[in-house]
Amino acid sequence: MALRFEDDFLKKLEYLHVVSKRAFAGQNRADRLTPKRGRGIEFADHRQYTPGDDFRHIDWKAYKRLNRLLLRLFDEERDLPIYLMIDASRSMAEPAKFDMARRIAAALCYIGLAHLDRLTILPFGKSLRHETSPGRGKGRIFRVFELLENMETAGPTDLRQSFKEFASRPRQNGLTVIISDFLDPGGFDAGLKILRTIGHDVFVVHVASERDRDPGTFGEVQFVDTETGDVREFEVTPRLAAAYVAAWEAHAAELETFCGRYDIGYVRADAERPFDEIILKAFRQGRFLA
């Protein structure tokens, strides 16, 4: 699958940047405001001079007016740690669905790299797989493309185990984006709660395909679970098909409600929708991009 984007689309992406509901202080200087005071450009406040402070930051005009030594403070601008967690389990193996997931990841990576954010790509399935940090700057995007193109689906989905492993390692808090179909027999709530409790700003991208939403067939069918290999044989009647569609809608609504309750951002990305529309419209409406 080619993940290359057209130039005009990349230009549009450059005007966007990832929005985090909370401010996180990164390790390197960048263009995101942090709660820290430091050597930024934007004036923030004054404080009393204490010995050892840098003379260059003493506000001499204030000293002349107030006869007090005050030190000028500036907002610290740092990068944002962004963790892109991509579901690479077998349930995502449907080409349309997995392609959409990877293209979304690629686009977010490009936006992040363009704004000097620190990106970490973490594929997961039954557990967390090898994580990759491509570095900083737009020039690294080709490495991201290569990484995503070579990514393959395998194994079942275990959101709880994967997120637990993610939380178990010491990381700087930041924005965690989960791109998945959330078809986990163990449920999605436990895993998302873990991420939320460790202090990350979490954003969910729910990828779904037409085949997920509607069985699209009638009659006697042998259904095979791609993850577990389980086989169920039954007759799909119009009523049963309608019940399935309703069950899927309930599942999506349940996920969205859960995200709303726990202040987790939610965007649904149907594989059949135009990719540009999802990035430029759905993500902005979901207040994930600005």
Binding site: S91, M92, A93, E94, K97, T157, D181, L183, D184, P185, S209, R211, D212, P215, T217, F218, G219, E220, V221, Q222, F223, V224, D225, T226, E227, T228, D230, R232, E233, F234, E235, V236, T237, P238, R239, L240, A243, Y244, A247, W248, H251
Partner: protein
């Protein structure tokens, strides 16, 4: 119910087998298609939910099974060629002859939008199906035996597909030796004398019709005209009708009018036909209430529409000029024998021009003419006339020498001498000829031939053994009659006012008969006569002996056109054939039902209404 394609036991076995096979196929568990899904998580939720099963969901499998079995039964039933027993008589034993009346009146349309013919053929199918297993034969009144006797029903069915009405002789009746049962399906329009024991099935249903009952060309009293066209149209409807009449001569319309003809009334129209135009006439009528179409057209041929071209060859032919000059039907040219020799060319007897007739006066070419010819007293030393074939004329009293003052006392029966008064002729001497192929048609009291004819398929000619120099031929009252007869016999061998369709007899010299459209009609030669079946109305051409004559064949007659009348009487005990559904056999309905049901099942299966 009876089955046309097989015995009843075989048919029931087939039906049972088809139903069993359909049930087995329906119940046979086929491996369903595999479908990979991302997760069975949601399917498990759906399937684990308790759901109420509707009444339709309970029975839909059974409904599908019933539909499948019905489709299989319908197809199997179609293969058995079923028919209802109630509409046919019970099967008989022995040989069966089914005769279908092939009169043109059988094409009359009935109130149920089918023709009597279609109804008759359908009844014949039912009879054949009912008699399955017996030796059967199929015949029509025009063609005689068409198929059989055979026990193969398919042969009879195939023959029923082939037969068509062609009119024919009302006296003709097909015979089948040893026939135990004879069924005759007719409308009774043509009165027939039927043999005893014939089971009559009547397809008669009174209908309104307007038809041309007579159309021909009759001699005109005026010498300026080639004849008078006589047209007779009769309205056999119970109410008056506006009839549109069109009469065309060649491509030109010579009459076009609308006329109201009262119920049962006839319109008779006489129209003078001037000389010099096309010779073919076509009459066509249109009327609002007209059940029979075949009698709406009629044809006629003007025999004297174009003059006969005659070449007279001789040295002293002046005595023939007044006779030929005064006849408007003749265009004569006169030639010296030397001129004829030049015109003949290299081939013997192949005259370069295309005249209708050549008259040789006291002179004969070295080879007989290929064109029709009259020879007046040809020289006795003419090689092809003088040569006497061995063993010919053994019974003649004539001794081979000329007879002085022969007396012609008895007029012959041959068309050439028919009506000739022999007593007005004074003959000084007659010289007989001994060539083979000459048939004397008039002889003297002592047996000396006076008039010969030769009639072969290649050439036809008349030889008079006396000429104008040896008789009062030029002034005898019988001479114009003799000439007129000879010209008609030679140039118009098959000219008749009109013929009807069916088996027709032609002059033995006829070599081919060409039907309208150029199709050649097969000729059968029986006892010296040429017979041909004329199957459609129109203008036909008969060719033979170097002559070519056109004649009209028509259908219309009061018997054919009067669709409101039947000759069947209560004493005939005719069994009426019911109207409706006659054109289609039951097996077609079975196939249609199977198709519709299959369509329904497919449509409902697509929508998961059935399984």
């Amino acid at each position: 119910m009876t089955f046309g394609a097989m015995r009843a036991m075989e048919a029931w076995l087939l039906l049972g087998g088809a139903a069993a096979l359909a049930t087995w196929l329906f119940l046979r568990k086929l491996r369903p298609p595999r479908m990979l899904v991302a997760s069975l998580l949601l399917w498990r939720r759906v399937l684990d939910e308790p759901r109420a099963i509707t009444f339709w969901e309970r029975i839909r499998r059974a409904v599908s099974l019933v539909l499948t079995v019905i489709i299989a039964l319908a197809i199997a039933l179609a293969a058995t060629r079923p028919s209802l027993k109630s509409s046919t008589p019970s099967a008989s034993r022995g040989r069966v002859l089914i005769v279908v009346d092939s009169s043109w009146s059988m094409l009359t349309r009935t109130g149920s939008h089918e023709s009597r013919w279609e109804r008759a053929v359908a009844q014949a199918r039912r009879l054949a199906a009912a008699e399955a297993g017996n030796a059967m034969a199929l015949a029509t009144t025009a063609d005689g035996l068409v198929e059989g006797p055979t026990t193969d029903l398919r042969l009879i069915e195939s023959a029923l597909d082939r037969i068509v009405p062609v009119g024919g002789d009302v006296t003709a009746w097909p015979q089948l030796a040893g026939a135990d049962t004879v069924h005759f399906i007719t409308d009774g329009a043509m009165a027939r004398r039927l043999p005893g024991g014939v089971v009559v099935h009547s397809v008669f249903e009174a209908a309104s019709n307007v038809g041309v009952t007579a159309f021909d060309v009759r001699p005109s009293l005026s010498a300026l005209n080639a004849g008078d066209a006589y047209l007779e149209i009769v309205n056999y409807a119970p109410v008056a009708q506006d009839v549109r009449v069109r009469l065309a001569r060649g491509e030109a319309s010579i009459l076009e009018r609308s006329v109201s003809i009262g119920a049962g009334e006839a319109l008779r129209q006489v129209l003078p036909l001037v000389r010099g135009a096309a010779s073919d006439l076509h009459a066509h009528i249109e009327a609002p209430d007209n059940a029979l179409g075949v009698d709406d057209d009629a044809f006629a041929w003007i025999e004297h529409g174009a003059p006969v071209t005659i070449t007279v060859v001789g040295r002293q032919t002046g005595w023939l000029r007044p006779l030929l000059a005064n006849d408007p039907d003749v265009r004569a040219a006169f030639l010296d024998p030397a001129g004829y020799d030049l015109a003949v060319g290299t081939g013997p007897g192949d005259h370069a021009s295309e005249e209708d007739l050549i008259i040789f006066d006291r002179w004969a070419p070295p080879e007989p003419s290929a064109r029709p010819a009259i020879y007046f007293a040809p020289p006795a030393d003419t090689p092809w006339l003088a040569a006497r074939a061995a063993g010919t004329n053994p019974s003649r009293a004539w001794d081979g020498s000329e007879e002085k003052r022969p007396r012609w006392e008895t007029a012959g029966t041959h068309p050439v001498v028919h009506g000739v008064d022999p007593f007005t002729l004074k003959i000084e001497k007659a010289h007989p000829y001994g060539a083979a192929g000459l048939t004397p048609i008039a002889q003297s009291a002592q047996g000396t031939p006076l008039v010969y004819v030769s009639d072969t398929s290649s050439r036809r000619f008349v030889v008079l053994t006396f000429g104008a120099g040896e008789s009062n031929l030029a002034s005898a009252p019988g001479f114009p009659v003799l000439m007129g007869n000879a010209i008609d016999w030679l140039v118009r061998p098959d000219a008749r006012a009109a013929r009807t369709t069916g088996l027709a007899s032609f002059n033995p010299a006829t070599v081919q008969v060409i039907a309208p459209g150029g199709r050649q009609v097969p000729i059968a030669r029986v006892s010296g006569a040429a017979l041909a079946m004329l199957r459609a109305p129109g203008l036909y051409v008969a060719e033979g002996a170097g002559a070519r004559s056109t004649f009209a064949v028509n259908v219309g007659s009061p018997q054919v056109s009067n669709a409101a009348r039947t000759s069947l009487s209560p004493s005939d005990q005719a069994r009426p054939v019911m109207a409706g559904a006659s054109g289609t056999s039951w097996w077609l309905y079975c196939v249609a039902a199977a198709f519709v049901l299959a369509l329904v099942e497919w449509w409902t299966w697509q929508r998961r209404i059935t399984v």
